[in-house]
């Protein structure tokens, strides 16, 4: 069956795909179809919803566990540790995250107005809790490495910490607070993007993409089940499955699923003002009172099962940080698949020699946070204007090996 031609097909109904749909649909002259490919392990649905712009850039949140995993692997391989300090991402990535974070207050207003959904933007800040000298050293390293962001950080001593967060372990010797690292409800954010997009005329369909028609190095149509949708452009926002989509147009993407396991508490009264990161886990109390504890970093392919040892590690870290949790109930656990890239930086923008195709994938552990800026950059590219942030370091071109295959 042949469908009416559209201008743009967005593949992926997670937070990146829906954010792009929302941004592009502000221009009523563009016709857009979004294909939501339902897969177990969808990272947007599994996410904690942290907007930890500095935290994630300096290797807190999921990053601190990622760092531990890397260090452990290096030790096991008997190699000299090459990462002796927090695993920090390059300055352009900081900029990318910080700018995206700044977009959220306005985005909240817009989306609430257009689609009616409040995605619960909460001013929480993120606290790195320190128990010993190693933790202080770790935090000190972070602090010293980003002198230009000093006004967004604050040292908190144990007394002040006990006052601000009375449920944190009394053995904690202090914390480093990232004042602007807040949180949202990830499901509601996705729903808000989706509803606003629909209001602005985006056509949403569900299905499996089985082929993309490319003629003379130009994208012509996308096949979904029995339907073929002729289009001028495809945007690959397929998360951990982006590689499959890339293969359909002859682009080899170095994106692999990186499993993260999460535990969730029953609903509790408000006991945390801030989001928390320790060197064991991160902890975020969400708008409805549930406490979310994450997250592991595992290379297990597309497996989305939970495993006891990993859950226990996280539960131990969380009950150490917040002792009262011991008597509280865990009501659910799950695993999501982050779209990981070798350098932890997303892959955005066009591919040389291929017309009508844009990457918007590989957002690893910061998809929720960077969904806002990603959509704006893609929007600029679609309209032929130069993005507010230099696209160069995000292009697929940085991976030579991938380019050779085209």
């Amino acid at each position: 069956m042949k469908n009416k031609p559209v201008d743009i097909v967005i593949i992926g109904g997670g937070v990146i795909g829906t954010s792009i749909a929302y941004q592009l649909s502000k221009d009523p002259s563009i016709s857009i179809t979004l294909i939501d490919i339902k897969k177990p392990g969808n990272a947007s649905q599994a996410s904690a919803g942290g907007l930890w712009a500095i935290g994630e850039s300096v290797g807190l949140g999921c990053g601190v566990i990622f760092f531990k995993t890397l260090s452990k692997r290096r030790q096991e391989n008997n190699r000299k540790p090459t990462i002796e300090r927090p695993h920090q991402l390059p300055p352009f990535f900081f900029d990318f995250c910080l700018r995206s974070n700044d977009l959220f207050p306005d985005l909240w207003k817009e989306l609430k107005e257009i689609g009616g959904i409040d995605f619960k933007l909460e001013k929480t800040g993120l606290k790195f809790i320190m128990y010993d000298n190693d933790d202080i050293e770790y935090a000190r390293n972070i602090y010293d490495s980003i002198p230009h962001l000093k006004d967004q950080m604050e040292w908190v001593d144990s007394k002040q910490l006990a006052k601000e967060e009375p449920f944190i372990n009394k053995d904690a010797i202090g914390a480093l607070t990232f004042l602007k690292d807040d949180q949202v409800n990830p499901y509601l954010l996705m729903n808000a993007f989706r509803d606003a997009s629909r209001v602005q005329g985006v056509n949403m369909i569900q299905g499996e993409v089985n082929d993309i028609k490319v003629v003379n190095r130009k994208v012509e149509a996308v096949s979904v089940g029995q339907n073929q949708i002729p289009c001028n452009m495809v945007i690959n926002a397929a998360g951990a499955w982006a590689t499959d989509i890339g293969n359909m147009v002859g682009v080899s993407l170095p994106i692999t699923p990186v499993k993260g396991q999460v535990l969730l508490s029953e609903k509790m009264p408000k006991i945390l003002k801030s989001c928390i990161s320790t060197s064991d886990c991160y902890i975020a109390q969400k708008d409805n009172g549930e406490i979310l504890i994450g997250s592991t970093t595992e290379n297990k392919g597309f497996d989305t099962s939970t495993s006891y040892e990993q859950l226990r590690g996280l539960a131990e870290g969380a009950t150490k940080a917040i002792p009262i949790l011991k008597t509280m109930n865990c009501k659910r656990t799950w695993a999501g698949l982050r779209p990981g890239t070798p350098d932890e930086v997303p892959i955005l923008g066009p591919v040389k020699g291929l017309t009508g195709y844009l990457n918007a994938c590989g957002h690893f552990r910061t998809g929720i946070l960077t969904s806002a800026i990603t959509a704006r950059m893609i929007n600029d590219l679609v309209h032929g204007t130069s993005p507010e942030i230099d696209i160069t370091p995000f292009l697929i071109d940085r991976f030579r090996a991938c380019l050779n295959t085209i």
Partner: protein, 473 residues
């Protein structure tokens, strides 16, 4: 007995689980049974708590059957490692472990080979006022009285469909509670029409009539072809609004009337407890007549996953007699697969059971003509009725979600939070899926089902940091 020597894990100590263990023991195979209850018997043969009066339990017809099974089971006790008070929480597929909670500790057992006999639970039916204190499930009310020696109220009505309404009515009446009436959605003429196939043998026919006569002799009215409309009351149940139902079980509002009660047992169907077979990635099929989704099995109760067998109502609602036979068949399948018996010998051994079982299944399918759920039930809630009690999701939100393009259960969950609470959708899952299917005109396969997650019931965080290995690997 050392647990290490156990060769098969059995989940559930109801009729199916016990008969599977017996069949295995007859071939010298040791098994471990895990069950959340403090005593064996499952739901149908549930025994009164320790130290409580057992007379109501012993008065029951089912007691004779229960006692026969228990006695047989106890002769083989040395073959069974019985893990009671142990609630199964889920599966850790990467380490091949089945996790359960015992004395506030997470413990594990091998997840294969396993015979899953988790039975069923009552399907929740939302209607305006159904969350008022005093309204319970009919099975819950029956167990309270029979096993907990608790009077659920003083004036009670039993509303829904199926034989449990009459069984419960009799027990409650015997316990000295005023039973105002039994409200059965099925029509009397359908009951009579199906009578001979319904009670396929004289034993069950007599049993059925004895309940109907009991109601007659004790002046307990049975309203056939009627059902619930709503419940009213100031902070607790005071009156139940009842109306005749159309052929599709839609209440005829103008003919509604109310009955004054302080409690009510509601029972519109059962749902197979498939969470564990879902977690084990068994393929499932759908059949509304046997409660919804159930694991696909072959002639020997083998699921699509090697080493995973099912028996009892979790494989489709056929009742406890069928469960007893299926337990034996599943155990024989294990024995065949592990070369302890030939297929021919096993077939001979089970021939009589199969015949009886097939008769019982026929009985069940003819009963559906009388008691099978109809779509009118889906129209009972109004926009303000809470559907998901854990997350307080109202009917209105579900309609809004459908209008904004939700097409399946995953979408509905993300959109409205149904099923994201403590029970993971065991309560509302069935209704929501039926409603989506009804509204969208899509099959239940397309609508999908709630996906269970570890832990299937909430557990304290301390229990996760506290695991003990039940088995040494």
């Amino acid at each position: 007995m050392k647990s290490k020597t156990s060769q098969v894990t059995i989940v559930g100590a109801g009729p199916a689980g016990l008969s599977a263990a017996i069949q295995l023991a007859e071939f010298n195979i040791k098994s471990t049974i895990v069950d959340e209850n403090p005593e064996i018997g499952g739901a149908i043969f549930k025994q009164p708590d320790k130290g409580l009066d057992k007379s109501l339990f012993r008065n029951e017809k089912t007691y004779i059957r229960a006692k026969k099974l228990f006695d047989e089971f106890f002769t083989y006790q040395s073959y069974v490692n019985l893990q009671l008070g142990s609630e199964v929480l889920g599966d850790f597929s990467l380490s091949n472990e089945l996790a359960f909670l015992h004395n506030d500790k997470v413990k594990t057992l091998p997840n294969n080979p396993v015979i899953i006999c988790t039975g069923c639970y009552e399907r929740a039916q939302p209607f305006p006022g159904w969350t008022l204190p005093g309204i319970m499930s009919v099975g819950g009310i029956q167990l309270q009285t029979k096993c907990g020696n608790v009077k659920p109220g003083h004036k009670i009505a039993l509303v829904g469909t199926g034989p449990l309404l009459l069984v419960a009515a009799k027990q409650l009446h015997q316990a000295g509670i005023k039973v105002v009436g039994v409200v059965e959605a099925g029509l009397k003429k359908d009951l009579i029409k199906n009578m001979f196939t319904l009670f396929y043998n004289t034993k069950l026919l007599k049993e059925g009539f004895s309940y109907i006569n009991y109601m007659k002799n004790n002046k307990i009215p049975i309203f056939y072809g009627h059902g619930v409309v709503s419940a009213r009351g100031n902070n607790e149940l005071e009156e139940l609004v009842i109306a005749p139902y159309t052929k599709e079980w839609k209440p005829i509002q103008e003919k509604s009337f109310s009955i004054q009660v302080d409690s009510a047992g509601i029972g519109y169907g059962y749902v197979p407890r498939i969470q564990l077979t879902q977690m084990l990635k068994c393929e499932h099929e759908f059949n509304a007549n046997i409660g919804g989704f159930y694991p696909k099995v072959d002639h020997w109760q083998r699921t699509t996953i090697e080493g995973v067998y099912v028996a009892g109502d979790n494989g489709g609602i056929y009742g406890s007699e069928v469960a007893l036979h299926q337990g034996r068949i599943a155990a024989l399948a294990y024995l065949i697969d592990n070369k302890k018996i030939t297929v021919e010998k096993a077939s001979r051994l089970i021939k009589k059971n199969r015949k009886k079982m097939n008769n019982l299944k026929k009985f069940q399918s003819s009963f559906d003509n009388f008691s099978g759920l109809k779509s009118g039930l889906l129209t009972l809630p109004d926009s303000d009725t809470i559907v998901c009690r854990c997350e307080h999701v109202k009917m209105e939100s579900i309609d809004v979600a459908i209008n904004s393009g939700v097409k399946n259960m995953t979408g509905l969950k993300i959109r409205t939070r149904v099923g994201m609470g403590d029970c993971q959708g065991k309560m509302c899952g069935s209704f929501c899926a039926e409603y989506l299917s009804y509204k969208l005109g899509d099959t239940r396969e397309k609508i999908g089902a709630m996906k269970p997650r570890f832990p299937m019931s909430p557990i304290p965080f301390s229990s996760i940091t506290n695991k003990e290995l039940e088995y040494e690997k």
